[in-house]
């Protein structure tokens, strides 16, 4: 069944993922506002959980600030603690 094997002329660039960067250091953002819910939505998945650094690429210092901001936003009812379809 040689026909099934497809030979690419050049290697398929599938896993060439672009370099992740910390958006806070790049844009020079110094303070993450816990009151701004729709900004924090970018850092939680659709169950309302905080996204890990390996996905968002943020540095450790700002990941802690993001986590704290999300927890504060949850406390004052801007973000849910757990939900099934947030976005």
């Amino acid at each position: 069944m040689a026909k099934d094997t497809i030979q690419y002329v050049t290697a398929p660039k599938v896993d060439e993922s672009r370099k992740k960067y910390c958006r806070f250091r790049k844009n020079g953002i110094k303070y993450i506002d816990y009151k701004d819910a729709n900004f924090l939505l970018k850092f939680i998945n659709d169950q309302g959980k905080v996204l890990p650094r390996r996905l968002t690429g943020t540095s450790l210092k700002f990941q802690r600030k993001v986590a704290q901001a999300v927890k504060r936003a949850r406390h004052i009812g801007l973000l849910p603690y757990v939900t099934d379809s947030l976005k």
């Binding site: 844009n27 020079g28 953002i29 110094k30 303070y31 506002d33 816990y34 009151k35 701004d36 900004f39 504060r72 949850r74 406390h75 004052i76 009812g77 801007l78 973000l79 849910p80 603690y81 939900t83």
Partner: protein, 122 residues
């Protein structure tokens, strides 16, 4: 005199003047104890992300003020005592937070989404 920021959520069952009366009561408490209110912000009635005390909406109010440290405990005891307040959160502001709230108040963010602006120059 540290600068603090507190968010209060009042029950939605209150009438307009009951809300005003509650807010003025706390403002008076602050000014009596030597705190100085820098800025007040009313978000009005907002939907909560999850029901608090069986209610799905709440009346949000944000107060930024300068106060001596030991006053915060007294303030929070008053918040806990007052049953009109469903939830409160008091946060101390560091220099980045201060710079951020000044910029927000001066409307520096209004032209573009606040998180996308370049603060490199400052």
């Amino acid at each position: 005199m540290q600068q603090y920021e507190t968010v209060i959520i009042l029950t939605p069952l209150l009438s307009e003047e009951a809300v005003k009366e509650a807010l003025t009561k706390f403002n008076k408490l602050m000014t009596d104890n030597g705190a100085e209110i820098v800025h007040e912000d009313n978000w009005g009635l907002k939907k909560l992300a999850y029901p608090i005390q069986k209610k799905t909406t709440g009346y949000y109010h944000l107060t930024t003020f300068k106060a001596p440290g030991e006053f915060i405990n007294k303030l929070e005891v008053e918040y806990r005592r007052d049953e009109r307040i469903m939830r409160f959160l008091t946060v101390s502001l560091d220099k980045h937070a201060l710079a951020f709230s000044e910029k927000k108040r001066s409307g520096a963010f209004n032209k573009k989404q606040e998180t996308k602006i370049e603060e490199v120059a400052k």
